[in-house]
């Protein structure tokens, strides 16, 4: 399966944030979407998630490069994880999970609610507390858990590790790695080290366009220098 974006354009007034995004993402890989602050990473995700309207272009799913039949991207195909998650504050973690599983008719859960909590390492004493009292990290874990249960074909992660402590960040990275099979994962970040550590591919959101980076030397200092240079070239709007 592939996720194809074709000539996507998004402007705010006269300011063109996404100029001509044209890219193909493949299943089973984690794509690190790297860009400077304000480069349009969140705008890009919001367009795909239909949170904002875009000016032109299209995106869809297809089985493979040779396949002529395309599939429109449906709401249930998308999982979106944001850096500052909002949760239904009046529910406990357990209640929200119960509700979430019940409304997803198509889900046949292979775990009990407590097993899901265990999987995400959400402490027992948090499970029956209101979500509004959860820490930032636990809210993030809840958000990730719900998206894992929903099993979307496309997972958008908008800087999900920002402001998490090292332990939770590491746990989240492991979960993301373990969930990459069978779906396309796009992970946005402005932290180069995180992208290099977690992602299989790195794509720069650069001057409103997506540019793949040759990752043959992923991890060595020259590679990092190359990315920094590329990002530095970005036009200051």
């Amino acid at each position: 399966m592939e996720f194809v974006i074709s000539h996507l354009v998004k402007s705010y007034g006269s300011k063109q944030v996404l100029k001509d995004v044209d890219f193909v993402f493949e299943e089973g890989r984690i794509y690190g979407l790297l860009g400077r602050n304000g480069s349009g990473k969140t705008t890009f995700f919001n367009c795909i998630n239909s949170d904002i309207d875009y000016n032109s272009g299209s995106f869809y799913l297809r089985e493979n490069r040779d396949s002529e039949q395309t599939m429109p991207l449906k709401p249930e195909d998308i999982g979106y994880i944001v850096s500052t998650p909002t949760v239904p504050e009046f529910m406990t973690g357990r209640e929200f999970l119960k509700f979430f599983i019940e409304v997803h008719d198509e889900i046949k859960p292979d775990k009990t609610i407590d097993e899901y909590f265990e999987y995400m390492k959400i402490p027992e004493d948090d499970r029956d507390r209101l979500l509004k009292d959860y820490s930032h990290g636990t809210k993030n874990k809840m958000q990730m858990l719900l998206n894992i249960i929903a099993a979307p074909r496309l997972m958008l992660l908008d800087e999900p590790l920002t402001s998490l402590d090292v332990i939770i960040a590491e746990e989240m990275k492991n979960v993301i790695r373990s969930q990459k099979q069978g779906r396309i994962t796009i992970f946005s970040t402005h932290l180069l080290d995180v992208a290099v550590d977690l992602c299989d591919e790195i794509v720069l959101l650069h001057n409103g366009r997506l540019e793949p980076i040759d990752k043959s030397n992923l991890g060595n200092d020259d590679f990092k220098e190359k990315i920094i240079e590329a990002l530095r070239d970005q036009e200051d709007d």
Partner: protein, 584 residues
Amino acid sequence: MIKEFFRNLAKIIHLRSIIGYNGLVFALKKTPVIGKIIPDRLYSTTFLKVIYWIFHVIKEVFKLFVGKIIGLGTIYVASWILSNTYVDYGQAPGITQSDLYASFALLFFFLYALCGILINRPYFRCTTEKEYLVFMLRMNARKLNNTLFIYDLGKLVIGYFIAGLIAIVTGAPIWLWILIPVLAVLIKLSGTGFLAFCYRIKNKHHKLMRSSQASFTFRLLLVSVFIPIIVGAFVFIFVANGSFISLPVMLALAGVVSVLGILGYIELNRFDSGLHRRALHDNINIKEIEFNKKPDTTKNFKKIKANGSVNENKKGFEYLNALFMKRHGRMLVVKPIVFAVLAIILASLIIGGFITHYYKAFGAYDCTNMVIKNLWNMILWGRFEDSMEPFDPESTMSFFRWLIQTHMLLMMIPAAAADNSFKSTQAMFINCDNSLMTFSFFKQRDKIIKLFDIRLKQLIKISVIPSVAFALLANLFLFYTGGQDYPMHYLVNILISVLIGVIYNVTWLSTYYLFQPFTTSLNVKGGIYKVIQVVLGFVFSIVCLIPVNSIVLFGILLVFTVFFIFVMRKLVYKNAPRTWRIKS
């Protein structure tokens, strides 16, 4: 030193103009419709900045003259009238009219200046411009305060000299024209110096360098109550008796003020830059900051406790809604219940008043008979009948009967007051939907409409309580003024009231789904939503005045409500996946 003063003044005025101009453009850009067409480059348009500056200067000049001329001009005119009157009636032997004029003018001026220094104390007030200059641009706080102080004193002196022309024209001595501006400066120095002295003492005792609320209230009371009393007493006792304070006494007072002014100057000289900075920090204009900041209205919606559980049979969205109501019940139900209780209390008072009146007129036996008989009448025929005191169709109560017969649409007014749908949509958004909206799954049409239906039912259930209570109150009037016009009239009134409530529920809920106007701090964003609110308010206020017979109205409302719900559901089903989302 003068060069430095002008340099600092230029910086302040420049910043003041930037804040003022940018604030104006920002406000315009936030205005619905207009804001969309205003380009960002307006912030850097020199031509418009110049125009703003011209208006700013005109405003400064206006402030300079108008305040001073009105204040001091009134003093001079009053002194002129009094001194003339005294001379005409021979009340001031041994004193010239100009000296008498000066005596009165000085007395009024001291009271006027006292009011000024008690209320207007700008020296240590930290406005936005001072905050930027001192705490962000690291300007010397003492230099800043002194520059602004000298600038204010300069304006004061110029304004007073110009206003003093009135004194010259009305026959005041020349020295008074010069003395009053000088005294004004000395009084300002003494008041500000005294404030600096108080702050220095507070700082020494590690207290905040600002006036307490109690002190402000006291000063306000002094200005608004005690000083007018003194002036009143002076006019009615002193002047009425032809008395006056002799000029040497007033000049001696002026001497004391001068000494206080010099002491104030010395105190201000001792007040170092660090103290100035701290005083400004402690006097940051909270009100100004709060005014500029959009209010965070989310706090009221965060008072939720994990109390209770819901029926295990409820699943999915039913479960979500049941939990939502369980945790928000008090927040959402209290207002409609209060209105329902008020209607019931009013109905009870009417019944109680009626029975008491009857009891006094005809005694306990007849009163009991009347109550029992009419209870039966109401159950069997819905009519009020009493042979001893039949209803008089000519009485003023007939007006209410007429209203209920033909103006049941007026029920829209109490229904609007008791309706809590808007607050319910706020609670839905802030505590639930802004989370659900991040999951694309919930933006599917069938999911959206399912939750919409459940919520609409819930809102209707809540609004039924006050609607029925209002209708019962109306029916009570109908009963006491002769009873129903046709069988089931009471029931029709109840249904009309309920349908009106339902229309409000559908309106608020569907506009929420179709325009989702709330930001994450619950401020309403979106010009169209605001316009729709205004238009609907206008339409409702016109419609509620239309006279319609109640049975006809019921038929119209029933058809309209069914049609309205059908159309709104269709619109929500079609558009909400696109419109029901978080405002970015």
